[in-house]
Every structure is written in structure tokens, then in C-alpha cells.
């Protein structure tokens, strides 16, 4: 890529991938080096496909993918030395021990850090000489992460790293991930259903639904835009429909408004309409996530309705 930006760990531009029952459409995202991106979306939204494209495991139909300066999938072999990938369904050899796996990965990757691996065994509360088949789900996930972390990859691609872990194990994993970020050259992209983890850890947040990116931006400015406004207005008065308003719920004189691009002007406009504002509240990422998906789906289905309506008119004309 000519205009590859050296400060970026990941750059994706207009990436598309077609499957018989699913389309990944125009995925564009950037992850600056030294930062961590939370990738969220409902089941089947395209998170895993996107991650697999970044890993070179799936080839995009069109669009540009650059990972750590390597164009993908052409230079995937070079890229993979520096990428650590972990997913829920990591396959380990069930008749071998954790130690066997550690020796195996060590023999392939010169960056393997034996001391760090030892520390991780302790911190993850694992037993080196235990065979994989005797491990619980949580232990297996942690073993997979250990094998990846001890190689010290520059970019960590994690597909649901904390899913199915108990709270203690989740903390152990999160602690290790945060330690990775002490190094300004290392970066993480992780997908998760757990909006709480994403809200706490991420510098960047990317929302994906039905193969499309709904939004991708810096967490602080993103959270800052969303507000819930509780107000009181006499029931015979109308509330104006302002741009940036996603939802309006009224019951008697009480109204709750959800705004996705809140500004003080918005509150002022409501006041000028005779509303008395009780509170303007911040929203959690979980609440934003649900609003975002619902409003984006409502918008798309209204587009669909418009096009079907159009076709029907044409049909009538013909």
C-alpha cells in the first residue's frame, strides 16, 4: 500500500467478502499502534470474519488490508511472525501437556520468553504437566492465551478472549492484556460480547452489525456524544424531532430522549419548547450498543421499505 501509515497497526479500507448467506460490506477501520480496540456486535455480525481476514485465514474479495506494514493476504507469512491470534475454539493436542505445547511453540518462535511463560503459568493458575484433555474450558482458554502471549507478538487478535471464563479467570486475562500495552509498540484488537470489558479497556471502539460497520471511533469522544435526557412537558405539547435524537419515549408529562450527538443546544431547544429538564445522563456502552443497533436496523429497514415501495410503484406502472 503506497499510503501506508507507519503509526497504524491495522488499516482496512473498503474490505468486502461475499458468502452465500452473508456479506461483509465496505469494512474500513484503523488501529493506531500502542492502543487497544474493542470490537463489538451481535452474533453473526461479521466480527470473526473480519478478524480472520486480518490473520490471512480468509481472503477478502476486494479492499485493502494492511497489518503491521504487511499487505494481506499477499504478505501474510511475514505478518504472522508478529501476530498473536487466539479464539474460543483454539485447538490444542488433547493427549499432550501444556509444557509440551510450550516447548513446541518455543521451537518455532525465536521471540518466545521462557521466564514470562513460567510467570504466566503461575498467574493463570495452570499446571504445566497436565494434559490438555483434562483441562476445563477456562483452563484451555488460558492455556491458548499463554502460548500466544509468551511469544510477545506485536499485534494481538483475540476473538472473544474472555467468553466463558469465570470472573477470576477473566481478571487474570484482562490483567495480562493490559500489561501488553505498557509497550507503546504493541496493540490489541479483541472482539467481545461483554460491553463492560470493552468499555473499561478500549481506546477505540468499533461496532459491527449485519456485516457493516455502524461506527468506529475513539471511546471517549464516542461515549461523550450519547446522552439520555429526562424531561417533563405538558402532555398537549409536541417535542421537536431534532437531528441526533435516536429515540423518544413519552408517558404522560414525562419524556425520555436518547441522543446520539448531544449538545447543549439540544437541551436549550427543549427548554424553549416549554420542557423542564430533570437530568441529562451519561449512558453505559451496553445501553449505547442496544440503541445503536436498533436505530441502525430501523434506518436500514426503512430504506428497504422505500425501495420495495418503489418497485411496487414501477410494477403498477408496468
Amino acid at each position: 500500500m503506497k499510503d501506508y501509515d507507519n503509526s497504524m497497526a491495522i488499516q482496512m479500507r473498503n474490505v468486502c467478502k461475499h458468502y452465500p448467506h452473508f456479506d461483509l460490506q465496505n469494512i474500513s477501520l484503523e488501529l493506531p499502534k500502542g492502543s487497544i480496540m474493542g470490537f463489538i456486535g451481535p452474533n453473526g455480525a461479521g466480527k470473526s470474519t473480519t478478524i480472520r481476514i486480518l490473520m490471512g485465514l480468509v481472503q477478502q474479495d476486494s479492499g485493502i488490508v494492511n497489518v503491521l506494514g504487511n499487505q494481506m493476504p499477499t504478505h501474510q507469512i511475514a505478518a504472522k511472525w508478529d501476530i498473536g491470534f487466539a479464539s474460543e475454539d483454539m485447538r490444542l493436542y488433547k493427549n499432550e501437556t501444556i509444557q509440551w505445547h510450550m516447548d513446541y511453540i518455543k521451537s518455532i518462535y525465536p521471540t518466545w520468553d521462557t521466564n514470562y511463560a513460567k510467570q504466566l503459568v503461575k498467574r493463570f493458575d495452570l499446571t504445566r504437566h497436565q494434559k490438555v484433555k483434562g483441562l476445563s474450558h477456562g483452563q484451555r482458554v488460558k492455556a491458548g492465551l499463554l502460548l500466544m502471549l509468551a511469544r510477545k507478538p506485536k499485534l494481538l487478535l483475540l476473538d472473544e478472549p474472555t467468553t466463558g471464563l469465570d470472573p477470576v479467570a477473566r481478571h487474570e486475562v484482562i490483567n495480562e492484556l493490559m500489561d501488553v500495552l505498557l509497550d507503546e509498540e504493541r496493540s490489541i484488537l479483541f472482539s467481545s460480547h461483554n460491553t463492560q470489558d470493552v468499555e473499561q479497556l478500549s481506546d477505540e471502539i468499533t461496532f459491527i452489525d449485519k456485516g457493516r460497520i455502524i461506527s468506529s471511533e475513539n471511546k471517549e469522544s464516542y461515549l461523550e456524544k450519547w446522552r439520555r435526557i429526562r424531561l417533563e412537558i405538558s402532555s398537549d405539547k409536541q417535542l421537536p424531532s431534532l437531528t441526533g435524537m435516536v429515540e423518544q419515549r413519552r408517558s404522560g408529562t414525562q419524556a425520555i430522549i436518547t441522543a446520539k450527538s448531544f449538545s447543549e443546544n439540544m437541551a436549550e431547544t427543549y427548554r424553549n419548547c416549554g420542557a423542564h429538564i430533570h437530568s441529562i445522563e451519561n449512558m453505559t456502552l451496553e445501553e449505547i450498543f442496544v440503541s445503536e443497533v436498533q436505530s441502525s436496523r430501523a434506518f436500514n429497514s426503512s430504506l428497504d421499505a422505500a425501495t420495495t415501495g418503489d418497485n411496487m410503484n414501477k410494477g403498477a406502472a408496468a
Binding site: G34, S35, I36, I174, N175, M178, D179, L181, L182, E184, Q196, E199, Q200, L201, S202, D203, E204, N218, K219, E220, L223, H278, N282
Partner: protein
């Protein structure tokens, strides 16, 4: 030091505000005196287990309020301003009073009633003192 910072997701306020508040408390109780060097943004973020961008935002706000100053390449320091502790506590108190007024208004109390309530509570809570201030 950092272990005494506790961020809560049950708190309801954004993380960056919780960080700001706890740093201010550190300063106002004198744990972090003027000139004290704050941890680097990245170190602080890692030890708090929150994103770098959240700590960065907290530092930026503290800087714009004049609570800390950042010297390029050297780090962030508690501002050298002897009035600061008092200012912070005063600001803190005002915030609490504003909150109380809001609640009182939602209960339908008038300005007069609110003042009366404050006077009553003041008499109850404060022990007799010699008032040497004019």
C-alpha cells in the same frame, strides 16, 4: 499508591470523572503536594486497568482546570499553587450544594424552604464554636 485508586463500574459516572475526582482528593488531602510527579498516562492506565485514552482525557481536563501542568517530555506535575487545595475543596462543596438544590427542587421545596433547611441542619451538625471570622 495506585492501588488506592479504585474505579467502579457501578459508580454510574464515566471512568475519567472518577479518575479526576480521586486525583483531586489525593491533592486536597496533601498526599500529592505541589510539584509531585504524576504517573505517566500509560503506566497509570495499565495499573488502573483502564484504557490509555481514558487517563489521557482525565489528565487533559485536570490540566485545563489548572490542577496539573504537563511539561513536554518530562511528565505531569501537581500545579504549584498554594490556593489550589482550598479552591478544590470549595469547588467540591459547591458541587454538592448544587446537587442538593436540584434534589430539593424536585421535591418541590422553595428557595426559602431550602435555606431554612440548611440553617436547621447547620445548627444540628455544628458544635458551638467561637466565630472569629467577620
Amino acid at each position: 499508591m495506585d492501588s488506592e485508586f479504585i474505579l467502579s463500574q457501578a459508580d454510574g459516572r464515566p471512568m475519567y470523572l472518577q479518575i479526576i475526582e480521586q486525583i483531586k482528593r489525593r491533592i486536597s488531602i496533601g498526599d500529592w503536594p505541589a510539584g509531585h510527579k504524576l504517573p505517566s498516562i500509560r503506566e497509570f492506565a495499565v495499573s488502573l486497568r483502564v484504557s490509555v485514552i481514558t487517563v489521557k482525557r482525565a489528565y487533559q481536563e485536570l490540566e485545563s482546570e489548572g490542577v496539573i501542568t504537563t511539561q513536554h517530555g518530562k511528565g505531569s506535575f501537581v500545579s504549584i499553587d498554594s490556593q489550589l487545595d482550598e479552591q478544590l475543596r470549595e469547588k467540591d462543596m459547591n458541587q454538592h450544594l448544587v446537587e442538593a438544590i436540584k434534589i430539593a427542587e424536585s421535591l418541590g421545596l422553595s428557595e426559602k424552604e431550602i435555606k431554612l433547611r440548611i440553617e436547621q441542619l447547620y445548627r444540628q451538625s455544628s458544635k458551638p464554636k467561637t466565630t472569629n471570622q467577620s
